[in-house]
Every structure is written in structure tokens, then in C-alpha cells.
């Protein structure tokens, strides 16, 4: 593998431990007509393994990065903050767009995430219709409006 070369794929990586929330997010993405594939991992450690091609994802090409990471905060093993820190701390992944998708609007969560340069912080609404609207907004923004970082970086 070649460090510093990244290939941005069209995959959206969803880091979510709650089955219901994962299914609802998938449903909402469908309802919002977002065509990009959604890959789901169940905890912080799995997210790290996926992104850095380790453990059960050792076969993956680590230079292939998702288009955007939707990151829950309260996760088993490694928390969302730990995952964000790991992403920002690695040359390969430091520019990867990360959207925090969580139930919490606690000040310390928001501060922690913005301090670690998350790209966006979205609170999951309880109302499903609003949730679909949020997912649609996210999908449209990160797949069509936003321009990802260049594939070759320093």
C-alpha cells in the first residue's frame, strides 16, 4: 500500500451500536432516496478496524476511504470521541469527513467533537419524519454539494 494516496469511495460508513437506530437510518436513507451504499459497523473498535484495514477488515485496501463517516458517540469499547481522535490523528484519515450523529446535545459532547474537528454535529430527532428529512439533507449535502478532499495529499 502507498501512504498518502487515498481513494475516496462512494460508501457511507455508519458507526452505530443500536440495531433499531441502524435499521431506521438505513430505512431513512432509502426513504430519502440516497443511492450511496451504507456500510454499518457496530462499535468503535470495528470502525477503527474498518478504516485502517485491521482485524476482520485486514483484507480491505486501507487507501479506500468512505465518502463520509456517520459516527454515533455512545458506543461499546471505543467511544465515538475515541474513533474521531484516531481518525484525526492519522495522516491517511485526518481529512476524512466525519458527521456526528447522536441523541445527545450535551455541551461536553459538542465541545469534544468540535475540538477534534468533526465536520458536522447532527442530533437524531425522535420523530421519524424529521429523521428522514435530516438523512436526506445529509445525503444530499455529502454526496452532491460537498467536494471531498483531493485523493493525493501530502
Amino acid at each position: 500500500m502507498t501512504r498518502g494516496i487515498r481513494k475516496v469511495t462512494s460508501v457511507t460508513l455508519l458507526v452505530e451500536d443500536n440495531e433499531d437506530d441502524a435499521d431506521l437510518t438505513a430505512m431513512a436513507f432509502g426513504d430519502a432516496k440516497i443511492a450511496n451504499p451504507l456500510v454499518r459497523v457496530r462499535d468503535g473498535q470495528e470502525a477503527i478496524d474498518f478504516l485502517f484495514a485491521r482485524g476482520s477488515y485486514a483484507h480491505r485496501d486501507p487507501s479506500e476511504l468512505p465518502l463520509v463517516v456517520l459516527l454515533d458517540l455512545k458506543l461499546p469499547k471505543l467511544s465515538g470521541i475515541d474513533v474521531l481522535r484516531a481518525i484525526r490523528g492519522d495522516r491517511q484519515t485526518c481529512r476524512l469527513p466525519v458527521v456526528i450523529l447522536t441523541s445527545s446535545i450535551e455541551e461536553r459532547d459538542r465541545l469534544g467533537c468540535y475540538d477534534l474537528h468533526c465536520n458536522s454535529y447532527v442530533r437524531k430527532p425522535v420523530d421519524y419524519d424529521q429523521f428522514v428529512a435530516a438523512c436526506r439533507g445529509l445525503g444530499v449535502y455529502w454526496t452532491s454539494i460537498n467536494t471531498p478532499p483531493p485523493e493525493v495529499g501530502s
Partner: protein, 507 residues
């Protein structure tokens, strides 16, 4: 007894007395601070110096030949003191006396008197030399000192809450006040002469603490200590001890003054305070962990309820009878309401934990902002709002704003059924702090329920009449009490409601 008036003999004797002493008389004359004069054997004045004139007030001429008894106060004359002194001087060669004497003008002075007998070559008594010194000033100073010492001793002795005592340079107790008796249980006779280490615990004695504090006080002038001390009955108390070195004018160590206070009570309250604040911070920590978990975990199941009931409606709509669709709609509403409750509860908890920052606040401007936000949300409402200009306070801007939003929002909500809602925000000045008010002409309520109003989740109206979670006023109440203020309410059904509040110290 020596006869009092023997002038004719006296003159001759004076010559004899003066004769050998020309030099002496010249010398004596130069002395101003001592009255130096001679008496004949019978006690009559034979010579007189400058000091005698100064001290006693008589000129030489008016006193020569007079009997010395006139220098004494009447009570001494009656008691025969002048003669007795002369007799003693004649017999023993010298007598010393200290006592009141009388000046020419009748005033008294405290005198130190030495009378020496004078003899001729044959050894026969020829008279007396009398040296008198005016000690009035010294006596007065001594008296003042004695009085001040007495006052100090009474003062020290009357102190009951502090043991005040002295130890000598080796640490042996040399004085003991009432407070020491009370505090330590020893009577003065039981403790004076004992070493002060008896007040220490065995461990402290073994560690050499008593010697250490003496050494420190000697070196530094003063030493302080806190620790367990032992009473006579063996019980212990927590003592606050101060030991000061006492030195004379030349710096020689005379001993140590020791002041001991029983601070067991203070120690107990201090420790209680520490333990309370630890408990409080643990409780706060727990509350924070709790709300963090609520914030993250309690909403996910609601999203599930709402999302999957919507999915049912969407995917299986044709298979569902109207009743089933109604149930799903109610699940949706219940989830929504629960979500609001959680948010309000978290807000209440955040306010309870929030650190209060103090800054000047323009309450008038904040009220206008709040009203303009409400107008944006409900543009069709017809509400007449007046805000008194120049309302100022100090406190945490974010919290005060939340409080105003709750109170004005409350007034906004409960005036919904009036054709024209009226809301008034203002203040009256009572004593020093202004008492602010938010008044409306809304539905009001029966004052019998007023005490329920500020408790979380208490509502005086049903959800179908007016929506709300019942946390708004509890939040306002908590914000106001966290600012050291008070809130009260006046209301009448169908007339309206006024909330009155203070915010502690005004800017």
C-alpha cells in the same frame, strides 16, 4: 519623749552641727532632688538645703528651729511616729521609712526617708541627718502598674473559653486561669509546678512534641499547633494552641505564654462540611452521569417506537383497520411527548448543575427579544406587550434568558384564549432590590394550587387545554433560587396571573 520646743539649745547645736560641715552644707545645698537637713537631738530643724525647700516648700528661715513632726500628717503625729523614728535612729544609728509627708501648703507627698543619728567625738548624740526623697511620681507609676496588672490578671482570669497560662523556660506551669481550669480540668494547685507536657497525648510526648513547640516558640517568638490534648480526667479534645515566648527588656527568655482553645466543635463542623461537600460533589457527579446517560440512551427507544410505527403505517397501511392506524398515531404522539419531557428534564438538570456566571444584564432588552421570538412563532396571536424601560439586574445571561422565556412564554400561552392578550413586564423597588414582575390577563388559576406550581411535572391545566410539560416554571424557580432570589405568584381564575421575582444582589 523629746520636748518639742528647745530653740535656745537648738541654736548652739546647730553651730556644732554646721561647724565641721561647711563643705557638707555647700554640697547639700547643691542637691535639689533630695531634702537633706539636720535635726538637733530633740528633732528640731538645724539646717535646710535647696532640695528640702523644693520638696517641702519651706524657706530656710521659716523652718529652722521648728520640730520635724510638722512634716508628718496629723494621724502620724498623733500616733507619735516622728518621735518613734528619732528614737529608733538614736538607738540603732539609722532608720528608714516610707510614707506620706506633708508640704508647707498642706499637700501630701510619698517620701522615702532615711534618718541617721549624729554623734560627737565623745559618742554623745548631737542630732540627726535626715534625707528625704519625694517618691510620689514613682509611687504613682507603681500604683498604675499594679492596677494595670490587676486588671490584666482579672481579665485573663475571667476568660473562660481560652486556657491562658504561663510556663517557665523549662516548661513548668507558673500561672493558670479560669479558662484553663475549665478546659483542662486541673485546679491551679494541682497543676502549678507541673510540666506542661502532661497536657499532651502519650504519642505526642513520645515524639517530643512539647519540647519542639517550646524550641520553636523560643526561636520564632511564637508557635502554633493544632492537635489532640488530654484533660485531667484523661478525655481528649481538639486544641488550637498558640505559644509565645515572653522576654524581658534585654531579651532574656522569661518563659512562655500559652493560649489553648477547644476547637473540637469547629473541627467537627469543618469535617462535616468537608464530608457534606464530598457527598454533594458525588451526588452532582452521579446526576451528571445520569443525565448524560438519559441524554444518550432514553431517546433511542423513542426513535424506534416512532420510526417503526411509521414504517407499519407506510408499508402495511392497506392491511390496517382505522383503529390500528389511530393506535399507531397515538404511539407517535406518546413518543413525541416523552421526547419533550426528556429534553425539559435535561434542561432542568443542566440548570441545577450549571455554574452561575455574574454579569450585568439588561432585562428590558432580554424581554423584548423573548417577545419578538414568540411573535415569530405565533404571528397570528394578538398580544399587547409592555416592557418597562431600564430594567437592570446581574446574573448568568443564559439562565436569566431561559427564566424570562419560561415566564413570558407562560404568559403568552395562557393568554391564548383572550381576545386581546396583555402582558406587562416591569419592576417595583422594595428596600434595595427591585422586585420584577411578569403580569398577564390570562386564564389564571385558583391560588389553592399555588404551591404545586413550581414543582416539576405539576400542571394546573390539562394537555388538551394548554400544551406543556410542566417543567417551565420549575426551571424558572430553580434559576431564580440559584441566583439567590425568590419567586412568588398572584393569580385569580379568569383574571390573570402575576409572577413576582427577585434576583438577589442588584448590580
Amino acid at each position: 519623749m523629746i520636748p518639742k520646743d528647745r530653740k535656745h539649745e537648738g541654736v548652739a547645736a546647730a553651730h556644732r552641727l554646721r561647724d565641721p560641715g561647711h563643705d557638707f552644707q555647700t554640697l547639700a545645698d547643691s542637691v535639689k532632688d533630695y531634702a537633706i537637713f539636720t535635726l538637733d537631738a530633740g528633732g528640731h530643724v538645724m539646717s535646710w538645703n535647696t532640695g528640702a525647700r523644693e520638696i517641702k516648700g519651706y524657706g530656710e528661715l521659716e523652718i529652722l528651729g521648728k520640730h520635724c513632726s510638722q512634716f508628718y500628717p496629723p494621724e502620724d503625729r498623733e500616733a507619735g511616729k516622728p518621735e518613734a523614728l528619732l528614737e529608733t535612729a538614736a538607738r540603732a544609728g539609722r532608720v528608714e521609712d516610707e510614707g506620706w509627708r506633708v508640704r508647707k501648703d498642706g499637700t501630701r507627698f510619698w517620701a522615702d526617708v532615711v534618718i541617721s543619728s549624729l554623734h560627737d567625738h565623745a559618742g554623745e548624740l548631737i542630732g540627726f541627718l535626715k534625707v528625704t526623697r519625694d517618691l510620689t511620681a514613682r509611687r504613682e507609676a507603681e500604683e498604675r502598674l499594679r492596677q494595670s496588672e490587676l486588671r490584666l490578671r482579672l481579665l485573663v482570669d475571667s476568660v473562660k473559653d481560652y486556657a491562658i497560662f504561663m510556663v517557665d523556660t523549662r516548661g513548668q506551669v507558673i500561672s493558670w486561669n479560669r479558662g484553663a481550669e475549665r478546659l483542662k480540668g486541673y485546679q491551679p494547685n494541682e497543676v502549678i509546678g507541673k510540666h506542661f507536657s502532661i497536657f499532651y497525648t502519650a504519642e505526642d510526648r513520645a515524639e517530643g512534641k512539647p519540647a519542639q513547640i517550646l524550641a520553636l516558640a523560643a526561636a520564632e517568638g511564637r508557635a502554633e499547633d493544632e492537635g489532640w490534648r488530654v484533660r485531667q480526667d484523661g478525655s481528649v479534645f481538639w486544641a488550637d494552641v498558640s505559644m509565645s515566648a515572653v522576654r524581658d527588656e534585654r531579651g532574656h527568655l522569661l518563659g512562655f505564654a500559652k493560649v489553648t482553645r477547644d476547637s473540637s466543635e469547629r473541627r467537627r463542623t469543618d469535617r462535616e462540611l468537608i464530608s457534606r461537600s464530598a457527598q454533594l460533589s458525588a451526588a452532582n457527579q452521579e446526576l451528571e452521569t445520569f443525565s448524560y446517560s438519559v441524554s444518550h440512551d432514553l431517546r433511542a427507544p423513542l426513535r424506534g417506537m416512532d420510526g417503526f410505527s411509521k414504517a407499519l403505517l407506510r408499508d402495511y397501511s392497506e392491511q390496517l383497520p382505522p383503529q390500528a392506524r389511530n393506535y399507531l398515531e397515538r404511539i407517535h404522539r406518546a413518543a413525541e411527548r416523552m421526547s419533550e419531557l426528556i429534553d425539559d428534564l435535561l434542561e432542568l438538570s443542566r440548570i441545577t448543575r450549571a455554574e452561575i456566571r455574574g454579569e450585568p444584564i439588561d432585562l428590558t432588552a432580554l424581554a423584548h427579544e423573548t417577545v419578538s421570538d414568540l411573535r415569530k412563532i405565533n404571528p397570528d396571536r394578538n398580544v399587547n406587550v409592555t416592557v418597562q424601560p431600564g430594567l437592570k439586574t446581574s446574573g448568568d445571561r443564559r439562565l436569566i434568558q431561559a427564566m424570562l422565556e419560561n415566564l413570558i412564554g407562560n404568559a403568552w400561552k395562557f393568554t391564548a384564549k383572550q381576545p386581546v392578550g396583555r402582558i406587562e413586564v416591569g419592576a417595583v423597588r422594595s428596600h434595595h432590590d427591585p422586585e420584577f414582575f411578569v403580569r398577564d390577563n390570562g386564564v389564571g388559576f385558583d391560588m389553592a394550587y399555588a404551591d404545586k406550581l413550581f414543582m416539576p411535572f405539576q400542571r394546573l391545566h390539562t394537555g388538551t387545554e394548554f400544551e406543556g410539560t410542566g417543567i417551565g416554571l420549575a426551571t424558572a424557580y430553580r434559576i431564580i433560587s440559584r441566583h439567590g432570589g425568590r419567586i412568588r405568584v398572584e393569580s385569580e381564575p379568569e383574571k390573570g396571573t402575576t409572577f413576582w421575582f427577585t434576583l438577589g444582589a442588584s448590580p
